[in-house]
Each structure stands twice: as structure tokens, then as C-alpha cells.
Amino acid sequence: MKRSTDRITTTHAGSLPRPSDLIALNRARAAGEKRDDGAYAECLSSAVAGVVAKQLSLGIDVPDDGEFGKPMAANYDYGVWWNYAFARMDGFVRAESVPESQHKKSSVADLALTSVRNRRDWQKFSEFYQDPESSGTLVGSAPRRATRRPVCTKPIRYVGHAAIEADIANMKKAMAAVGVEEGFICSVAPGSFARGENLYYKTEEEFVFASAEAMHDEYKAIVDAGLVLQLDDPSLPDNWDMIDPEPPLDEFKKFERVRIEALNHALRGLPEDRIRFHICWGSWHGPHTTDIPLQDIVDLVLTVNAGAYSVEAGNVRHEHEWRVWKEAKLPDGKLLIPGVVSHATNLVEHPQVVADRIVRFAEVVGRENVIAGTDCGLGGRIHPQVAWAKLAALADGARLATRELWR
């Protein structure tokens, strides 16, 4: 992976705003309407070419395909980064009905994830979360509709080979067209994928390991194609908020360690320096008061066999955590990709704010080890015009930081 050898380089967390024709096609396909696969493939391929060129023109050094191959069927949608994988798996059926929102309680001996609506932050701010205008400070919000979720009813098997090959081909073609050497594709981590409902595997651990086994094919395809693999694993921090009541930290870490073992198993044989690992505390626009502090899990994060760690640091709940890296040493040769612009506010970060954030990290972990990134994907979480402006501010800020760090 490229490092910031003579200047601060830039990237982002993956999702970017989709063009409206692609969203319309995704919507039609999701509704089972006219399936002209050729037209879809063409639309997707040209959209990826467009978004790679756009990232470069905005000053992003390490682009991706905007996650365009993961079908988003609405302007605002926070879930495609993980639920795209259901279509690439055998072993799931769509539930007969919308599931009841179960409030699973945990005991120390048996931690279990409760439903989204029973997250601890939801309970603390129940009026806010139930208010239809609760997006409040943001333009647009994903509709809160209950859907019939896929349920695992038989052994999981990866069947998405054609889909990932198409993603890879689109990305490589787009990169060749603009002459960029390094690009990445996102893929969901087993711990974040295996939060769906499981009726087949005896334990959640088996479910996670089976997911890991299956996802291995996608990870390998991306790396073998010469692209950087980004693993998306918000579950590592945000499961904490899904366990009610708040568990003892050591029990939680035990719970998470299993999921990291599964992930590292899925990464076997793949070179660490082609892999980046993304965590965030969930991208919904809520108070996030029950987010686990980075300090409590940073040791776990560093056990993932990746060469780079992408971590939220550009919002008011996690901005102060740059200090964590004073104590938790970033291992030699690894990279940190802090979020220095965020989906958490409509205001476009001032380039100087971006630069200040980068400089702080650089002074702690070394300028060559910092790549400036975003908190989370910007696509589907914020208005497209604001998303693009934030990428431009990211690049402007990186240039200011470079000037300060290499003078």
C-alpha cells in the first residue's frame, strides 16, 4: 500500500453518491422489474469510470469504485455496505414476514446482540429516535422501514464470483483510463455480516466462522486482482451498544476476539500490506453517547492482520481520540487512516480544520504513516453535493498539512 512518503496522501471510507440513473436501475431490479442485464452492466461500468475520474479530479489519491457495485436503490441508505453480501451468498432465504423487534437481554455468561431498535443509545434517546424529523441536523435521511431480512437456513456458500469479478473489472478499467496505480474495493467483515438472523448454525460463533469461510473467496479475488482490500467492520466497536445491559469490558473483548479470529482466518494467505481494516461506530445520525471508547478496543483492532487501520476521528464523539495513539503504538510498517472529514454534519469541514487533524496524527504516529480519510462512507449518508465538497476539503486540508509537515 502507498504511504505518505513525501506528502500526505488521501483516500476515503468507500461509499460515494450514486448517479440517479444507477439508483433508478437498482430500484427497478430490486422490485423485480425489467432485467436488462446488459444495460445494467453498461450503466454500472460507466458510472464506476466516472466516479474514479471524479475522485482523482477532487484530489483523492487512492480511489475506489464508490461501492457502486453494491446496489443502492434509494438516495439515502446506510446499509448497502453489508447487506449487498446476501445476494452473493447461498444459504439465506428472505424471512416470511418482518421480524418483531426483539429486545434480547444479555447476561455476563452469554452476550447476545439485541435488535437495532433496542440499542442502548436508542433506549437513552427514545424520543429522538422515534421522531420522524430526527435526522434534524441533516438533509435527507434513510427511511426507517422494517424489511424482511434474509435468514440463514442452510450452509453458507459464496456464490458472488461473477459479481466481484465484474466489480474488479470495472474498477481496473476505470483506473487504467485515468492512470492511477492503487485502488481499493470494500468487502464486509464476517463479524459485521453475521449479524443477520441464523436458524441453521448451532452457535453464533459457527455462523461467524462459516461467514468468514465464505467471504474468503471475495477477499482473495480482490487481492489477487492487484487491488487493495478494505474490510468494513463497524461491528467491532458498535456491537458494544447492541449488548444490553452494558457488558463487562473483558467479556465484550472475548466476544469480539472470536470475530477477529474468524476474520484473520478468512484472511489467511493474503498479504497484510494489501489490506486495510475500517472501523466506525455506525453511521446513523444519532447521539452516539454509548459508543465504546477507542482506547478500550484499540489492542483488539491491532490484532487484525491488516496493513492499515481506518478509524473515525472527524466527529465530535471521537475527535479527541487521536491521543489514544500516544499510548497504543501503531506497529512499525502499518498505516493509520483517520477520518478527518465526516458524514456527521452538513457543514463542510474547513481545510484548516482538516489540516489540524492530520497534523495532530502525524505528530504522534509519523507523517509517512498517515493517510487522510473520511469517518465513514459519504454516499447515501449525506447530500451528494455536500459529499463531493467534503472530498475536496479533504484534499485541500491534506495539501495544507503537507506544507506544514514537510517544511
Partner: protein
């Protein structure tokens, strides 16, 4: 005015979330006999709650300024509607809405689809909002302040609500002449004459507040956000500076005879949830800001567009005896600021201007701009962050 002697004091910019039943009373234009008892009890509650949240310098949450919807950004200035003579509504102008005020905005051109899709106002720009009440208001005759009885009543209600509550000090907000001159004028010969008349009129309200023993907060977002609304598209820096210099003269005219140490002056770049990419940098107006005859300056510093501007105070010395009230929590995001971040923001400024000269505050009013549950959570972390900062700064 109280300063942070011995610990970091806290305050906020003014607007706090109204209870639903109070909103309903205002919305339905309930008779005074129904409105007043509830207003009185709601103000007593909001003062107690501020004290419980760790806020030292409190107000009535601007509850006495009519707000009719839970999401509403404009009550802080639409209240003057009932307190000034000389205005009429022009339906044609009202139909244009905010567009009539922001035609010179570069940001609104650059982010045209963003503003067309929603505009960062959520439902706050909708019919029935305080802002909508101001659209179309046009000065057609001599301006006079007619709100003496109303402000006297506000003061009396606040005084009685403060009884038995332990706080350091209380403030009352009032609008600036610069803000009011946004409203169209057909009567006065020049914009200057118009602004001067507004300054003469609003002085009566300022004086009533200070005479009653309260700290007066003048709300003047216009001083900075008019750059974007009127001047940015043309890039007319000189025109803006000239305009702003005059506005400072006008507010100082309105403040004549009022002791500086009873006045705090609030600027922000407008509280709508937009990109704010065209906001004029603080460094370009700070020299004018410190000419305002106020002891305290309340300035946005807790959002991603203005957070870096704490550095401005390294180059521009805060005049001796003055206070800075930086925003260290904000309406700009739903996420609740981490108390350590709040402390970091306070400490940074304390190290530049002196710990005793910093009173921790909010970017702008929280009421009507974020969900009530979030507003209160933000005030609580403001208190918590100030305690952390105190520990660090007085150890």
C-alpha cells in the same frame, strides 16, 4: 459580568427546546389567560433544568419569544414583529421567501441542488415558521419601539422564575440593528437612515433589560452571515467591510449609555444546517467585532467550519477586561460532543486568552435546531467538559 474566577463558567446562546404544550399555545394564538400561566411555569422549569445541567449563566430559554413549531430557527428575531411599528407585510415579497434575502449568495449557487432539495432547514423554513413570519415584512413608516410592556413582562417573569434557584447570573437576548435591516425598506431614504432608526428603536429594549439588572445579549448573526447572503457572489470584500463597519457603529449607537460590562454580543454564521463553505473567516472581521461596546463576545467555535479559528485570538489580542464565550458544543451535528473534546476546546482558548476570560458556551441556540433530547444532552456535556477543563487549568 461574571468571569471564570476559580473555575470555567458555562452559559449558552439562548434558545432552548420549548415544551410541546407551549408550542401549541403559541401556534393556536391562545388567549393570554391560557398562555401566560403555562409560559411562567415553563420558564421556571427551564431555569431549574439549566442549573441542574451545570449551566451557570442562564436565561428563559427564549420561551417568551413565540415559537410555534418544534423545528424553527427564527424565533430569536421574529419576536420583534410584535414590538416595532412601521412595518407592513408585502405578499409578493413574502412569496419569495428566503430567496429575497440571499440572492447574492455564492454558496446558494454552488450548492443549488442541496438548497433546492432541502436547504438545510429541515421543516424550519416551512409555512408557520418564525422565519416565514418575517418574509415580506417591509418598513413603510417611521419605526418606533412599542414593546415596552412586553419586555417589562418578560423581565418580571424571568425575575420570579429565578427565585430560589442557584445560578451565577441571568441574561436576556435581543436582536441587533444589523439583523433587522435585512427586512425590506420603502420608507427611509438610505439603508443608513433605516439602520440608524432601528438602532434608536431597539435601544429601548436593550435599556429595559440592563436597567432590570440582567445581562443583555445582542444577537447579531447578520454581522457575519450577510457576507454570504449579499456580497459573496460579487466577491465584494470592500463593500462588505464598509457595510459591517457601519453596522458596528449602529449597534454602538444603540448601546450608548449602557454600561459595557452588562452586555455580551453574539455572532454566528447562521444556524441553518448547510455547507457554510462561504462563511467569512473570523480573522477578516475580528477587528470590527472587538469594536462593539460589549464586554463578552460569543462566537461559534464548535463546528467544523469554525473550529480552527481559536487561533485567530493568538494574533488578535482580546482587549483587557473582555470575555470570550466560545461555542464548544454545537447544533451542527446530532452527535453529542464528548466531554473531553469540550474540555480540549476550552483549554485551547484559555491558554491563548487566559482562563479567567473564557466562559464556555454553545455555537448558537439549541432550541428549535436540534431535537430536545439532544439539546439537553449537549448542555449536560458542556457542564461536564467545563469541569474537566477546570481540573486541568487550575491544578
Amino acid at each position: 459580568m461574571k468571569r471564570s474566577d476559580g473555575r470555567i463558567l458555562t452559559t449558552h446562546v439562548g434558545s432552548l427546546p420549548r415544551p410541546d404544550d407551549l408550542l401549541a399555545l403559541y401556534r393556536d394564538n391562545a388567549p393570554e389567560t391560557e398562555l401566560q400561566p403555562r409560559l411562567r411555569s415553563a420558564i421556571a422549569e427551564v431555569i431549574r433544568r439549566q442549573a441542574q445541567s451545570g449551566i451557570d449563566i442562564v436565561n428563559d430559554g427564549e420561551f417568551s419569544k413565540a415559537m410555534r413549531r418544534s423545528t424553527d430557527f427564527g424565533a430569536w428575531w421574529s419576536y420583534v414583529y410584535d414590538r416595532l411599528s412601521g412595518y407592513e407585510v408585502r405578499p409578493g415579497l413574502a412569496g419569495q421567501g428566503r430567496a429575497a434575502w440571499t440572492a447574492g449568495s455564492k454558496e446558494r449557487k454552488e450548492f443549488a441542488t442541496f438548497y433546492a432539495d432541502d436547504g438545510g432547514m429541515g421543516s424550519a423554513g416551512a409555512a408557520g415558521s418564525s422565519s416565514a413570519r418575517m418574509f415580506g415584512l417591509t418598513c413603510t413608516g417611521p419605526i418606533k419601539y412599542t414593546g415596552h410592556a412586553i419586555v417589562a413582562h418578560d423581565i418580571e417573569t424571568l425575575k420570579s422564575a429565578l427565585g430560589g434557584v442557584r445560578v451565577e447570573e441571568a441574561f436576556v437576548t435581543a436582536v441587533s440593528p444589523a439583523t433587522m435591516q435585512i427586512l425590506a425598506n420603502e420608507y427611509y431614504k438610505s439603508p443608513q437612515d433605516y439602520t440608524w432608526a432601528l438602532a434608536d428603536a431597539i435601544r429601548e429594549e436593550y435599556k429595559a433589560i440592563v436597567d432590570a439588572g440582567f445581562v443583555l445579549q445582542i444577537d447579531d448573526p447578520a454581522l457575519v452571515d450577510i457576507w454570504d447572503w449579499w456580497f459573496s457572489l460579487k466577491g465584494d470584500v470592500a463593500g462588505y467591510r464598509k457595510w459591517a463597519e457601519f453596522q458596528v457603529e449602529a449597534v454602538n449607537h444603540a448601546l450608548q449609555g449602557i454600561p459595557e460590562d452588562r452586555v455580551r454580543f453574539h455572532i454566528c454564521w447562521g444556524s441553518w444546517h448547510g455547507p457554510h463553505s462561504g462563511d467569512v473567516p473570523l480573522k477578516d472581521v475580528v477587528d470590527l467585532l472587538i469594536k462593539v461596546k460589549a464586554q463578552g463576545y460569543s462566537v461559534e467555535a464548535g463546528n467544523v467550519r469554525h473550529e480552527h479559528e481559536w487561533k485567530v485570538w493568538r494574533d488578535t489580542k482580546l482587549p483587557d477586561g473582555k470575555l470570550l464565550m466560545p461555542g464548544v458544543v454545537s447544533h451542527a451535528t446530532n452527535l453529542i460532543e464528548h466531554p473531553e473534546l469540550v474540555a480540549d476546546r476550552i483549554i485551547r482558548l484559555a491558554q491563548v486568552v487566559g482562563r479567567e476570560n473564557v466562559v464556555a458556551s454553545t455555537d448558537c441556540g439549541l432550541g428549535g435546531r436540534v431535537h430536545p433530547e439532544l439539546a439537553w444532552a449537549k448542555l449536560a456535556v458542556l457542564g461536564e467538559g467545563a469541569r474537566l477543563a477546570t481540573k486541568e487549568l487550575w491544578r
